[in-house]
């Protein structure tokens, strides 16, 4: 079913692109707005994950590197730029060409420069929704500022796609988005049970629709089916892995090129990951009298847009609520925003929860930066502490 949903996503992207109604969006973009205005979205970050899973990261990133982009640049950005340069040599022949590029910097600042680079190549205009990082909650003026950005977004989309925003339609889309997110959240929370019905890789794959098709009705069906399956597993006591012995928290994007080998290898040793900080990032429902205010709140308060304290709190909360024995922080060379502060987090989280953790280093797409032997030693040592 997941395959069908994702196939439909690709197909709809191509159709929209041909009709001149496709926008590329960043993963934390309030996609409900373009969706309500009849503009379809494609996700370069998700595409980059496909590049990673197909194990062609070094090749596609290499296309961007040939143009002069540094290996230090995020490998999602390099994959994105590389696949625009050489779609024929990239998985699925690249993403369908966009008519606009919608970036929200609630996940990082890299996306803006990345979309600027794509804009130079495709001539699609860039719109930036600026959501300055929050440190200690969202102030009233922050909210007003982001809200005014959403008004500008509506103007931008009206101008470029010749459409209008109707409040009724936005409410419908918001409601569908909320339903999908709520079902997804229930799937995640079912993993508090022992044995956990889902492992890390399961969640990383199953989250694709909630990232890329929030606000559509068919993904609500998909998440309902997933929740039924998860509940069935819980009732029957069927775990995601055969013999659950150790429950760990995962932090950060996974190494896409190695995702099955990595998590299944650990599963054979009785290690399951009932929770991670990444798939828990899609939460919050757009509602209330002032929908724009709701959008401005939710999209400013995403995990990566908050300070280190909030990250540490979240990790501690997950470790306690999901009854976890330890944690693995994946330090992703590409994603400075996600990986910054992990050294301090490790210390604080261990101190507060009393469970040990390790930091392993690598990348989500660029397999050249992944040293298996070094990672193995760190994880083995962690497991030896726990067994």
């Amino acid at each position: 079913m997941l395959q069908q949903v994702m196939f439909r996503y690709m197909l709809e992207g191509h159709t929209a692109s041909e009709e001149g109604k496709l926008a590329w969006v960043t993963s934390g973009f309030p996609v409900e707005i373009p969706q309500a205005m009849g503009v379809t979205s494609s996700y370069p970050e998700q595409y980059a994950a496909v590049v990673g899973s197909e194990k062609v990261g070094p090749t596609v990133c290499g296309f961007a590197e040939e143009l002069g982009y540094s290996q230090e640049l995020c490998s999602y950005a390099r994959s994105g730029i590389g696949s625009v340069l050489h779609p024929d040599d990239s998985p699925l022949n690249g993403l369908p060409p966009p008519q606009a590029l919608l970036a929200c910097n609630n996940i990082c600042g890299t996306v803006l420069r990345w979309y600027d680079a794509v804009s130079e190549l495709t001539e699609a205009p860039v719109f930036l929704l600026d959501t300055p990082p929050l440190d200690d909650g969202q102030s009233a003026h922050h909210m007003r500022y982001v809200k005014s950005g959403i008004h500008k977004l509506v103007d931008f989309l009206s101008k470029h796609f010749g459409t209008e925003l109707e409040e009724g339609r936005l409410r419908e889309v918001a409601e569908l988005s909320t339903q999908a997110i709520s079902l997804w959240t229930q799937c995640l929370e079912a993993c508090k049970k022992r044995p956990s019905p889902l492992n890390c890789a399961d969640r990383f794959l199953a989250m694709a629709p909630v990232v890329s098709m929030r606000g559509t009705d068919h993904i609500v069906e998909y998440y309902q089916a997933l929740l039924d399956e998860v509940n069935h597993r819980v009732r029957e006591g069927v775990g995601a892995i055969r013999d659950e012995r150790i429950r760990l928290l995962w932090d950060n994007i996974p190494p896409w090129f190695n995702i099955f080998k990595f998590f299944n290898g650990l599963a054979k040793r009785g290690v399951v990951f009932p929770a991670d900080t990444y798939t828990h990032a899609w939460s919050g429902s757009i509602s209330g009298d002032d929908l724009f205010e709701s959008v401005a709140t939710i999209y400013s308060n995403v995990y990566l847009n908050k300070g280190l304290d909030a990250k540490v709190d979240k990790m501690c909360e997950l470790i306690e609520d999901y009854n976890l024995d330890g944690f693995i922080l994946f330090s992703v060379r590409s994603c400075k925003r996600y990986s910054l502060g992990q050294m301090v987090s490790k210390e604080l989280v261990s101190e507060r929860t009393g469970v040990p953790g390790v930091i392993i280093e690598g990348d989500m797409v660029d397999s050249r930066l992944f040293n298996e032997a070094q990672i193995q030693t760190r994880i083995d040592a962690l497991l030896e502490m726990l067994l």
Binding site: E351, Q374, D380, M385
Partner: protein, 262 residues
């Protein structure tokens, strides 16, 4: 195995040297051997095992072997492998149960481990990516100064006015050292600066692990008196060094091998 093992064999396959240790149930050392790993970890391990077999001919069927170190998984004759993090903790804890923070500086990596009251690791940090802060750093610098590695520490201890080496990167520090040579600085003072710089690097790694309690140093670099001296200054603490600081990983593995049969 129906009977308990009579002997434990620990094999530590480090990147620079391979060590083997044989102990009996009373944890008495019956044999031990150390060899440069060279190009073949398996070959070095076999030769180490042959050497301890000559030192103490035992009934091998009554022994259990545990391998550790970066090459731990390539040894087929081992019954099991355990990381060097755990093995070093167990080995050091056996020799000195008071030690709570262990710094191990090997030929090509360094690690800091907090050891719990039961002798098991509780937290650790590992540097296995960069030659600065490992024995390799001292080896390169000794080469630049044309001093045999074994004399390098003593040379540094003769310094009266240590040079400042501000770069911790091996490559940059090398050009800094060449600069000092060019400026006519004494070899003793340059050597002292090199040791102090490396001690600062290791101290900063060790500060990542919070610990209160006595400090131990193992690994080949612990044999270097100038490094121990500067590290102790840098950390403001006395440092305990075992008699054979390179053997604690193999010792820990041998002890764990005996536990295995229990």
């Amino acid at each position: 195995m129906t009977q308990k093992p009579k002997y434990g064999i620990g094999l530590d396959l480090g990147s620079t040297s391979t060590k083997a240790m044989l102990i009996d149930r009373e944890r008495r050392v019956l044999g031990s051997h150390l060899l440069p790993t060279g190009a073949s970890a398996v070959g070095a391990a076999e030769r180490c095992l042959e050497a301890i077999a000559i030192q103490a001919p035992i009934d091998v069927s009554r022994s259990i072997t545990i391998s550790t170190g970066y090459g731990r998984s390539v040894i087929e004759s081992a019954d099991r492998n355990i990381t060097e993090i755990t093995c070093h903790s167990v080995g050091v804890n056996h020799l000195n149960p008071d030690i709570r923070l262990l710094i191990d500086v090997g030929g090509q990596d360094s690690k800091v481990i907090r050891i719990g009251a039961k002798g098991r690791p509780e937290d650790f940090e590992l540097n296995d990516k960069c030659s600065a802060g490992t024995g390799r750093f001292l080896e390169v610098m000794a080469g630049v100064l044309e001093v045999p590695l074994k004399d390098f520490g003593n040379l540094a201890l003769g310094s009266t006015d240590p040079c400042e080496i501000s770069n911790t990167c091996t490559v940059f520090a090398e050009s800094e050292v060449i600069g000092h040579i060019g400026a006519g600085k004494r070899a003793e003072d340059i050597a002292a600066g090199i040791h102090a710089s490396m001690a600062a690097k290791i101290a900063s790694l060790s500060k990542r692990i919070r610990s209160t309690g006595p400090l131990g140093l193992t690994g080949g670099v612990a044999l270097n008196p100038a490094f121990v001296h500067y590290l102790s200054i840098e950390l403001g603490e006395d440092i305990w060094v075992p008699e054979e600081p390179q053997m604690t990983g193999a010792l820990g593995a041998a002890i764990l091998a005996l536990d295995e049969g229990d």
